[in-house]
Symmetry: C5
Subunit: 358 residues, 5 copies
């Protein structure tokens, strides 16, 4: 959504940072305004405002012409725009206030965006910790099950966060129903377990159910000889995985107070609707493009703020899930080539026998 389909589904790398940083960006960004998603979304309200301004500019002339044509004496003959003019100073006070409120709103939206991204960063971190610590699970089967369930959790969480469906605009790339079935079946090699995870949607909280399954696997591992303190370390990582999910849910469930968002939109609309009365007298027909540009720039900030307020439509969740799948895959592959690990231990044993013997 944020500007083209591609930026949603990608993580930045050094090449993209370089393009991002190049000094030609000022010209490039200026020329690509017509392709920007924000611009296309705002085209309708901005055009409406421009048309409204044009009406206000034309009104006195039209009224005079009409009166002349119909030979009606206007009730207020000396009527002119000048009597409707607002003083710029009173209006600019409102403008400053709108600006401060807008920046505050953008700030709060951005904080939610960062919090959402950080929660996914923490999710990746704790998944990696589980991957690393799982090497102490003596039972290979349980270890694999644990890693698979953790991978599945990421996909299940993603599906929960993107449960929407577009009604009004089927081409909107941010709104689609995310179905985790394929991914869960790919990650979990035991079909019965995969079905159990998928069916648990009926209990109302598939994420929690997946975590319960993970804890059951850990309980079984404990019974199979996983050292007790390592067991609890993994449980703590699992608890933190649940925390990341909880943060995401909180962000989805609670927006910035709605009355605040509404008040901001209302202030902006009132400000823009009264602006022509300030600038038409001095600028005439030039007001029309001027208002269009101002409306684009100001409503654009509100639009971006509202897009990142719910960050999971914008964040590259699919690549992040792929990172988790890859990293847990490294741990599974490492487990499979456990011969190598044995060799590692053996090489070590050979080199330091005297220390051990001591």
């Amino acid at each position: 959504l944020i500007s083209s389909g591609t930026s949603i589904s990608q993580l930045m790398d050094q090449d993209k940072w370089e393009r991002h940083r190049m000094v030609d960006r000022f010209i490039v960004e200026f020329l690509t305004i017509p392709q920007s998603t924000v611009f296309s979304r705002l085209l309708k309200p901005c055009t409406a405002l421009a048309a409204y301004t044009a009406c206000i500019v034309a009104l006195p002339t039209v009224v005079a012409l009409a009166a002349a044509k119909m030979q009606i004496a206007l009730p207020f003959p000396a009527f002119s725009m000048a009597q409707l003019v607002l003083p710029a100073s009173a209006h600019s006070l409102l403008g400053t206030l709108c600006g401060l409120v807008l920046v505050f709103r953008t700030n709060s939206s951005y904080a939610r965006f960062v919090e959402g991204r950080t929660a996914w960063g923490a999710l990746i971190r704790h998944c990696r910790d589980v991957a690393r610590l799982s090497m102490y699970i003596p039972d290979k089967r349980l270890r694999r099950r644990l890693l698979e369930l953790v991978t599945a959790y990421a996909y299940v969480l993603k599906a929960r966060l993107r449960s929407g469906r577009t009604r009004s605009d089927p081409t909107d790339p941010t709104a689609f129903k995310d179905i985790p079935d394929e991914a869960v079946r790919r990650c979990i090699t035991e079909p019965a377990l995969a079905e159990k995870v998928l069916e648990s949607v009926s209990t109302g909280n598939r994420c929690l159910y997946t975590l319960l399954l993970i804890s059951k696997t850990l309980k079984a591992s404990l019974a199979k000889g996983l050292p007790s303190d390592i067991h609890w370390n993994i449980e703590e990582s699992v608890s933190n995985i649940g925390l990341s999910g909880g943060i995401c849910e909180r962000i989805i469930a609670t927006p910035i107070p709605l009355s605040f968002t509404r008040h901001t939109a209302r202030s902006l609309v009132i400000w823009l609707l009264t602006l022509p009365f300030v600038i038409v007298p001095t600028m005439g027909w030039m007001s029309v493009p001027c208002i269009f540009t101002l409306a684009y720039l100001i409503l654009g900030i509100d639009e971006i703020g509202i897009q990142i307020e719910e960050p999971f439509a914008t964040l590259p969740l699919t690549p992040l899930c792929a990172v988790i799948e890859r990293d847990l895959g490294i741990a599974i592959a490492d487990m499979e080539t456990n011969e190598d690990a044995h060799a590692f231990a053996d090489a070590n044993a050979e080199r330091v026998p005297d220390v051990v013997a001591r």
Copy 2:
């Protein structure tokens, strides 16, 4: 309160986010101003200010007419508004300051709102942790009691945070006495225990007493064979549940320094009361709607700030409690169908007998 009865008692979902994000919001919000709660609450002061402005506009004419009628020579014949005019520059300085202070206040209120919501998010998380870890409690009865007490804690905390009663405005949806009796009796299946929780209100801190009961249940579980380290992990979650309650209490008990709130209100009122002297000379009767609109937009920010300063009237606490009840219900249901868990363990045992045997 925040804008209609419904938004208080609901969590956002993807459908609502879509409505929230649609670009028509600018028009919709503008047209629904008359239905907004903030508008209806501010109608009185805004109308008063408009009337006050009308008086100022009318005064010179009225005085002149009265003098003419009563044929009294005015002591200051050349009297006109122009002599009372404030220069816009001095006034706009005060306006900038008011704007900054207002934004600071809103910011601080919003931080309290976020902190309150985060505390409830943490409460949910730790309740889920208790639910997950309770599977290690060997005694089913104690496990059920623990989960029920934790569910009850959420309702008891909610009741504590919404203990108010409306005296002046019985229709105000944010102010009502929350009685947890029904919910506590529903959650706790042992009637004696439920009564004990409910009666403890006389000690002065029902929340703390509920936590003491939880700890006693844990102590009994420890005696019944709950592994010692798991016991402490649950105790830590319980301690964090208490922390969430403590944060909520702190938010309720300590507002933004009252002198600050008062100074802001005073600055705004003084600013609005002197504004007519700035704009009446140039705008005449147009000042009346102008002041009304400005007062609505500016006092509206203060009003929203003061509403979210005490966030528990605005936050959807009832649905959040329902989430806790549902999630702990999943754990209880899972416990009841423990046969399934046994099957899980058994299936596992069947599949990996050789590993165990090794």
Copy 3:
């Protein structure tokens, strides 16, 4: 201090929030300006500034009259205020800067206020944790001593934070020497121990000494059979109690850099002293109330900022200590009626004998 003696010594409850939120606050606050503490404290500097402005307004007339009376030709006959006038634009730049600096300062002061309050919130929380966990201490006497010492710690800390004495203004309610002797003797039922706590003021850090006594009690409890992991959990809570005290001490010991506070005060004074040269030429005698009002509103923000910079004079420490005493009292009372706890355990034992037997 912040606005009347009462608001210092009270915690907010739902009733007060309702009054706080009512929409009449704009009128009420405006009418109560003369009773506000901030106003009464600032009366002196504001009046001085108003007098100074009056002199500037009167000066040209006085000089002209005096010259006429004494028939002295003025060296600069065409002298008028106009030549001393500052352009509003240059001055308003300084005004914007002052505004930003003032808001920054208020923000930092408020952050200190919140930090101080949060530290006391954490103190309450950890005291409750100690209360809850102390149920594992088998020796009733040591348990009671522990809870009493923790209660005493709160009073000792309060005394440390409010060690001031008013020299210049004996009626100032925020400045008084807090003597903890009465409270400590009430909380600690062993007189020898209470004396020991009180005498330790001579070592230079009574708080640390109280914590050492708590740790000694815990060491003795450990020797009497307190399980080792629970012992350490309590030790951690005690460490966190010490942390809360440390945060408070840090806030007391280190203000916002003094040079910053001074620079802000200097900027404000210079801005206000030069303001008459900007507005007197256009406003004449109206400048006097105008400057008085502006000075009150602007210096008021600085005054509030400086009051909450050291938050322990403003925060309701006495009620917070009372909360701790009440909550630890609940735990002590619960211990005394341990029969009840035995009954609880017994009831449990009776109900689930078969499970235990299994």
Copy 4:
């Protein structure tokens, strides 16, 4: 990049702080503008804007001359700049908004910079903790291997964060491919292990693989007699080392929402492109240097913001890695001279035999 090649690769010390603080900096910085990297990068867009302004200034004269020469009557004879003039007030509103947005953006970039630096600070801290705690590993060989792998991790992480390659500008000091091979081979004295670390780049996550090797070393140490609780303390430090890496990856992978960056650049360009219509009428040819300076100062803030948005090109990662290598080298050296430590223990044993004997 930030201003010269040297400031990238250095840590500040007291001497540099003194130069940084000296009051002559105002003059020095002003005179060194032409050498600043920001200035040289912005020279192109600023010159373009100045040329554009010159065209606007010259246009009416040129058109008039051309018309006179070619003896063509202009279609709009009374044409003058005055008709294209924008009112300063409308434009300055946009300017305030741009300023707020710019400051918000810089703030967010700076927060990312601080977060990146703090992550490296935490990395250093946890490496030091591993160094300190490794003294409990009884096997010297494993201890050395652990410390070497941790040192290598820092270099591997650095290589991951600086994986870019400059395509457009080969002289740009911030963009180069960082090859860790030499450093890894220097740090790890077992060549087979070093190769294993280097080859693991093929798995897609060399950092994770290095952490897996560290955990394997710890598992082997556990088997060789490292006490279990110390083992877990080190594991936790290793987990935190992974966390630091994860934070850095997150910063690299997710920029400030691109639509926001683009909107800011577009606003600035539109503001600067319309500025000549505001100032040319009053300033004439003086507008050209004026616009050049304004563009440099305003675009400079955006440029700096975008440079520190990806902080790993700017932060002195090489010296920070050297600090880790030095500090872990101290621990290794201390281990080698373990005789000294034995002496330390012996001296102690000699001095306090009676206490021990008691």
Copy 5:
């Protein structure tokens, strides 16, 4: 430095807060401007700016006089300042931007100041924790050595943070080489150990070496019977002590991005250098004091920001170290009078023999 030699080396107490808060501060601070350090440091650049302004004011007259005297016709006879005048609006835009940037910079500097102070607060807290927990070390000698090494660490860290030397200004109280030798020798009663700490400066990281010595002491204590879990609690406190040191080092090593600081200084200088062209036409000779005052107020904020950017020159490190020495001294004294502790335990034993016997 921040305002006089005394405020560097002192902690605030209630008396100083009272002076800080008194309402006369506005007058006092205004009158003490000439004694302020910031003023004396800025005297040079402010005077230079005032002289520059005076030149601009005098220039037209001087040129005219010179031309008249030398009877040269000026090439541009109608030359006057008016043609060089900048419009106030364009300039004030730059002023707003400078203001925002300046406030952002001050904010960031202040955040560093608070972080540095908080790190020292945490250091004190963890030292106190070590003091409290050390009572579980059975060997008195090792306990004393531990406490002494921790005290020495504070002095060693202070010496590291204040390693500068003044080259340009020998009277500057903030810049001096801090030699910890005397303090370390006073704190550590075993001369050999003190020498070892002092000599370790050659390894490049004396702080880390001191921590290694502390860990060795703990290892020896573990061997002498310190319970294992208490041992690890102390190790964690030691790790946190190291963390505090690491935060301080990070603050020293990494300033706010230099390009940002430079850009701010450049913007301010350009703004002040062009200001005369805005105000000289209307204000004439009054511009000179006006520019001097503005320069003092604006550059003063930058100056304060740059002073607190490196907070360890400003923070009262010496009194903070003294606090640590005092608090650890209380623990040592308490250890020496262990008879008292025995009595404490005995009294307890006497009072509750029946409970023990049970």
